[in-house]
């Protein structure tokens, strides 16, 4: 009986939502950057977070693995409360891949070593295994022939694809993307988005801050619209793009979707 109830509880905690924000607030000194954010991401879901610059999107996604701390509230990731000081944040982070706007590959290591470093050091995976996985992932992101070069020898788009492979090498339950295409030249955005689309179709949970509305429309299960630190709207892409409810979302969409000139 007790066992049964425990199983029931466990199911609601971990399989229903893999990430959950409960009344999250954050301040930078006087600036209230996240205002009472409640949000949950189900396993396998692809959630796109959009909003004007300075709306707190990046801050929000960085709180998931505690690259940013929060002022109040709770954040649950994989059934663990990341705010709880008793939680080992490193084990939470190991299961959460993070792709940065500026790639942040390790410049002193080759592409292969960039990808295998964490699996070997954190997961204690044997080197041979880690390298085999790294090569598979490199092939997936279309860079099989780049395993021995250094990041500085790659274009921005290639670096970002390596960064995605690096995140995936930890076999994470969730992948977080913080404006992965914002630092790229226009002609390189497509190659990165393609990798991300392929990834979305594998069924991995994704949370993605991006201005690429085409990507959101095509692969997102849900779009979250953030403005001034508040979740203003949460809807399916179909609803959000065709019939935004709030005035702020309408304005935002007008700006990002219509050509500037």
């Amino acid at each position: 009986m007790v066992l049964h109830r425990y199983t029931l509880f466990d199911t609601t905690e971990s399989t229903m939502s893999i990430i959950r924000f409960n009344a999250v607030n954050k301040w930078f000194k006087d600036l209230h950057v996240l205002k009472d954010v409640n949000l949950s991401v189900a396993e396998g879901e692809v959630v796109v977070i959009c909003g004007p610059s300075g709306s707190g999107k990046s801050t929000l996604i960085r709180t998931v693995n505690q690259l940013e701390t929060i002022g109040s509230g709770e954040i649950w990731v994989n059934g663990q409360n990341v705010i709880d000081p008793k939680t080992d944040i490193n084990t939470v982070r190991a299961d959460v891949g993070f792709v940065f706007q500026h790639f942040n590959l390790y410049p002193h290591l080759t592409v292969l070593d960039n990808i295998t470093l964490a699996p070997i050091q954190v997961r204690k995976q044997p080197r041979v295994e880690a390298e085999a996985l790294a090569e598979t992932l490199l092939a997936k992101v279309g860079l099989a022939n780049k395993r021995d070069v250094f990041p500085s020898q790659l274009s921005g788009g290639q670096q970002q694809r390596v960064a995605i492979a690096r995140g995936l090498a930890m076999q994470p339950k969730v992948m977080l993307f913080d404006e992965p295409t914002s630092a790229l030249d226009p002609e390189m955005i497509g190659e990165v988005l393609k990798v991300m689309k392929d990834l979305a179709h594998t069924g991995i949970t994704m949370m993605c801050v991006t201005h690429e509305m085409g990507f959101a429309r095509e692969v997102a299960d849900r779009v979250v619209f953030l403005d001034q630190g508040e979740v203003v709207e949460m809807a399916t892409p179909a609803e959000f793009f065709s019939a935004p409810k709030s005035e702020r979302a309408k304005q935002f969409l007008q700006q990002v979707l219509s050509p500037m000139h």
């Binding site: 490193n90 959460v96 940065f100 942040n104 470093l117 964490a118 930890m170």
Partner: protein, 219 residues
């Protein structure tokens, strides 16, 4: 006036011994200094107040006292504290290691601070501990960035090792001065020794220049 440079050749073995001591003192102080200096730098950048304070105090103390004084200090203090007469040569190892660590600390601190926040975040996002992040991500890059500074400090250190002659240690200068007194050949000995210091220091500083250019290309 006649110069008798044969005196230099005749005492070559003794000078060579002194030179070897100078080199080994430099090497030891550099290795220990970088190692301990790196730990000090991590402590200085730590968010733990007490650690931060202790490391700052250490660095400020040794950077505010003349090296010559520290050499005297240790020469007198070490036998007093340990009760063992270790001799001038051995006490100088300790002196230089401890003194130079303060300078190497400041270089390594600059190196660590030169690493972008993004690199640090990328390490933590992978699940690295502080130690792993330092070891695999931050320190290798920091070290590479400051190699020219570390080498420059080593050149200064090599020249400074000549100060140990004041406590009677037989380094290169000490050996030369002893021979000079014995044979009354101060000019020959001091000129020869000066040339040795000059050649080594100058060659090393050229190397630093080349390294600088190379690192600039890599960046």
């Amino acid at each position: 006036m006649d110069f008798d440079f044969a005196a230099v050749r005749n005492s070559a073995d003794y000078l060579w011994q002194g030179f070897q001591y100078s080199l080994s003192l430099t090497a030891f102080a550099t290795c220990f200094g970088i190692l301990f200096g790196t730990l000090l730098a991590m402590a200085r950048l730590s968010s733990i107040k007490s650690l931060n304070w202790a490391a700052s105090a250490y660095v400020n103390l040794f950077r505010s006292i003349p090296l010559l004084l520290v050499i005297f200090w240790f020469y007198i203090l070490v036998p007093l504290m340990t009760g063992v007469q270790v001799g001038a040569e051995k006490s100088a190892y300790l002196t230089f290691a401890i003194f130079e660590a303060a300078y190497f600390c400041e270089i390594m601190r600059a190196g660590i601070q030169s690493i972008s926040k993004g690199q640090v975040a990328a390490g933590y996002a992978m699940g690295f501990t502080y130690g792993q992040n330092m070891r695999y991500v931050i320190l290798p890059q920091a070290f590479r960035n400051v190699v020219p500074l570390l080498l420059t400090q080593t050149i200064i250190l090599f020249q400074d090792t000549s100060l140990v002659y004041v406590v009677g240690a037989t380094d290169l200068l000490g050996a030369a001065s002893k021979v000079a007194n014995r044979d009354n050949t101060p000019i020959e000995m001091y000129v020869s020794v000066a040339i040795i210091y000059l050649v080594i220091s100058f060659t090393l500083s050229r190397l630093v220049k080349q390294l600088h250019a190379k690192i600039a290309v890599i960046r």
